[in-house]
């Protein structure tokens, strides 16, 4: 037995880490979007979700995802260009 990981174990470990990071990222997005969209779309909670509330929630979730994608793109570019020089 050696204390080194085999190459297969290493690949497995890397895959696991990447998957868990992706899951955590998605959960964070969902949690944040749920709070924002609840606030935006459900003004007065009724006895069930109305169809207009549902379409507002769906559109809000899509725009929140667009916003996240836009923000991370701008943020990454700014960090790469701006931070090095300053």
């Amino acid at each position: 037995m050696t204390d080194k990981l085999t190459s297969a174990q290493k690949d497995e470990l890397m895959n696991q880490v990447q998957q868990q990071l992706a899951v955590a990222n998605f959960q964070e997005l969902l949690t944040k979007a749920t709070h924002k969209c609840y606030k935006m779309c459900i003004g007065k909670p009724g006895s069930s979700l109305s169809s207009s509330e549902q379409s507002c929630l769906a559109m809000c979730m899509d725009r929140y995802t667009d916003t996240y994608n836009h923000v991370i793109r701008v943020y990454t570019t700014k960090l790469q260009n701006g931070l090095r020089g300053s």
Binding site: K4, L5, K10, L13, M14, V17, Q18, L21, A24, N25, E28, L29, K32, K36, C37, M40, C41, C56, M59, C60, D62, R63, Y64, D66, T67, Y68, H70, V71, I72, V74, Y75, T76, K78, L79, G82, L83, S86
Partner: protein, 115 residues
Amino acid sequence: MITQSNLEVIIQVWDQIDPSISRILTRMSFENEHDLAANLDSDLQDFIQQQQQKAQLQSSAHKLTDMCWDRCIGDRPGQRLDAKTETCLSNCVERFIDASMFLVTRLQKNLQGHS
């Protein structure tokens, strides 16, 4: 120049004020650190560092999205993000980083003044 030890002080201070800044600084601090777990397989070490950076980036992006959504998106979601909203979001992110870096530099000067 920021040394490793006063960077750690700055990181601790920023952790209280705004963790997203302390994460940026932690990343800078990582780049300075050479003797990190010397026995660890170098592929794995590179991979872990990359994933840590990615996690930090994503976490900061979530905070910025939260903040800039409140500032740039109105009462109802639109069919798409229009050009005006995208500009607002870009300015929101870029000026936040500028403001943060301005304050970090100012804080750093204050700390150096006291030592």
